[in-house]
């Protein structure tokens, strides 16, 4: 199969997939990762999706100020931003921390399933395009570090503890990264 490096344009010819990492000889960009396994990608993306619902429903932080017990979920935080007149910021937060990860993992599961089964699922070409762009736009990992920074900022002010939602977010993020590392969009073209 003739291909070209997407970063520098040099023409390369590759043999079929034999599990080795492939690096561009001119600009040393990684073209094809090691350990690609679409079955693992399917398993881990479904696991990540299962953690997504409790991660959104359970509060990720709980604090106690003067006897008041307050907890926050992602949607409540976004709603407060929206009510303060920062609609754009609320939209960005909801998209990057909830919507894009959801689309990313659902479509990864869909495409991994597509590459495992004998038949071809509908719309897989368009789905593959979306997965590639969502990879950059999902920000669950940044959100988790953001929660930890706020904990440190608030630790002097109030009695603060991490809620169930935080651990669910952590699991979701962990399995998302695992699924992403086993997934390779080029893989399902070898099937055809």
């Amino acid at each position: 199969m003739k291909t070209a490096c997407h970063a520098c344009g040099v023409v390369l010819s590759i043999e079929d997939d034999n599990g080795y990492k492939m690096v561009c000889p001119q600009c040393s960009t990684v073209l094809y990762g090691r350990n690609i396994n679409m079955f693992y990608a399917l398993m881990f993306s479904i696991t990540s999706l299962l953690f997504m619902l409790p991660a959104m429903l359970f509060p990720f932080l709980e604090i106690q100020i003067q006897g008041n017990r307050i907890s926050a979920t992602l949607f409540e935080s976004a709603k407060v931003l929206n009510d303060d007149g920062l609609r754009l910021a609320a939209l960005i937060v909801i998209c990057t921390a909830f919507l894009f990860p959801l689309i990313y993992m659902t479509f990864t599961a869909y495409l991994s399933f597509d590459s495992i089964v004998e038949f071809t699922m509908p719309l897989s070409d368009q789905t593959a395009k979306v997965v590639e762009s969502m990879k950059h736009w999902q920000m669950i990992d940044v959100f988790i570090i953001g929660i930890l920074v706020s904990v440190v900022k608030l630790v002097g002010m109030a009695d603060i503890s991490l809620g169930t939602g935080f651990y669910m977010l952590g699991c979701e993020c962990f399995f998302m990264i695992l699924a992403g590392s086993y997934y390779e969009s080029r893989q399902f073209w070898f099937k055809r």
Partner: protein, 210 residues
């Protein structure tokens, strides 16, 4: 996977010289003389280089540069204790953390919300100016620099999330209330625009001759 390049070690053949263009979806090399073609394997429509890559990246980078000024001047967070409000900007928050002797978290926030956006804008402008010229960095290093810009892109969103979490949590009415400021919108826009700018840049233009 065995890699084999057409051409000798001294001179690699790129897709233009070969008379082909890369399908970005299935990575097949389409043999075509024109700049646009449909992929015979997967049917998606492809362009040889990203459309108006340089002017689009210039526009988005300059826009984010201009938005970066209000993002730093306007407050991003407003903490009201008993009706008394104290507003803080991005750098103000970093200095506050430094004064509280939380050095580690201070460095994390400083890097994520100040160093990363500045580095991104400067790197993109450097790449845009030197795209076809001889410069301090060679082509390989420039490609590495670009992949670094893409990798760290989303981490400047950290401050936006911190404000979102604080505003959602500290909300006791008159006693104690945290709200986001308008600087937050500008800052989030800067992050999104620099990410869009780096996505519209085509690194193959660095390697193209002339």
């Amino acid at each position: 996977m065995k890699v084999d390049s057409s051409g000798s070690k001294d001179k690699w053949v790129n897709d233009i010289e070969f008379g082909g263009l890369l399908c970005t979806d299935c990575k097949t090399l389409i043999i075509s003389a024109s700049d646009e073609a449909d992929c015979p394997e997967c049917g998606s429509h492809n362009i040889r280089r990203k459309k108006n890559s340089l002017s689009r990246t210039w526009a988005l980078t300059l826009a984010s540069l201009f938005l970066y000024i209000p993002a730093n001047i306007l407050p991003i967070m407003d903490v009201q204790i008993m009706g008394q409000s104290s507003k803080s900007t991005i750098l103000g928050g970093v200095i506050e953390l430094f004064n509280y002797e939380m050095y580690f978290i201070c460095i994390v926030v400083f890097v994520a919300s100040f160093v990363v956006p500045v580095f991104k804008i400067c790197s993109l402008m450097y790449l845009l100016i030197t795209v076809n010229r001889k410069s301090l960095l060679n082509n390989k290093q420039k490609t590495k620099l670009f992949s670094l810009v893409e990798l760290i892109g989303k981490w400047s969103m950290l401050d936006v999330y911190v404000v979102a979490v604080m505003a959602g949590l500290i909300n006791l009415g008159f006693l104690l209330k945290t709200t986001g400021g308008y600087g937050l919108i500008f800052f989030a826009s800067v992050v999104v625009l620099t990410m869009l700018a780096s996505h519209s840049f085509d690194t193959r233009l660095i390697w193209d001759e002339g």
